[in-house]
């Protein structure tokens, strides 16, 4: 929580205040990362996409490789949220990812039915 990522490209007047996402601020360093690279910490981004319904994997031991699965999830995310579909971690996409959001999954979720704990 020491170096929050600040969104550099506000997209509407309400975004004039700098956005700090303590939870996902580390994702700011992934801007312009490309497929095929091993990037320290990008497994956390895979967990993010898994949590919100974009990355379906049986094996939840996510690696730090920017692989086809991550690129596919990224494309699905960009399509769903009306972003430019680049398959890349461009600034707009990363800015959207780190924005505060609802915890409900984006993909016709089932988990928000009642569960017993």
């Amino acid at each position: 929580r020491t170096s929050p990522f600040f969104s550099s490209k506000p997209t509407n007047p309400t975004n004039n205040h700098k956005i700090r996402s303590y939870t996902w601020h580390e994702f700011g360093k992934f801007v312009d990362a490309t497929r095929g690279n091993n990037i320290n910490g990008i497994s956390e981004l895979k967990k993010y996409f898994h949590r919100f319904g974009y990355l379906k994997m049986d094996n939840l031991n996510f690696t730090d490789l920017f692989d086809d699965h991550l690129e596919h999830a990224l494309i699905k995310y960009q399509e769903k949220l009306g972003l430019s579909v680049t398959g890349k971690l461009d600034e707009n996409t990363v800015s959207q990812i780190i924005s505060p959001r609802c915890g409900v999954s984006d993909s016709a979720p089932k988990f928000m039915h009642a569960k017993r704990h």
Binding site: R101, V104, A108, M112
Partner: protein, 192 residues
Amino acid sequence: YAFFSGRPRWSRSIPITLTYAFSPENVITSLSKSEIKDAFRRAFSHWASVIPVTFLESKDYGFADIKIGFYKGDHGDGEPFDGVLGVLAHAFSPETGRFHLDAAETWAVDFDRKKSDEAIDLESVATHEIGHLLGLAHTSVQEAVMFPSLRPREKKVDLKIDDIKGIQALYGSNPNFNDQARSESDTSISNG
């Protein structure tokens, strides 16, 4: 607009009355009770104006259809909150009625009074989560209330055509809903 898998909705016959209540234990103190209740009353009224559903506040938390509470971190439903920003809230699909907000957020009802860069508008989040409680999932339409993200100091409380069409596909229209006036309003907004 989108629905949850299986398209669940409150199954009682229309017109529907749903009660809601606030957890007496899981509360925040940064806003007064009346500020919180007023924000939720407005949030429920947005949906009630377009569908034949009435929301009534109840003091009986145990028997309320919709149970609202502010929680920190792991609160027992398998979806722990994560502190300031990140995930703001979540709600369950019909007919569960659980509505959880992250107590760690800087909740606001008036940005003139709450100057923090991290302030989150309570009515906006409440309006979004009520959409989930009624059966709507996330939409791709950025202007709609059911879009998944909300930036700090952003206020998004007015239902857009996408929200209205979605919820009316589940419950039908409120007889008093003026579709044409709403469409014209949306058009004038989009025209700047």
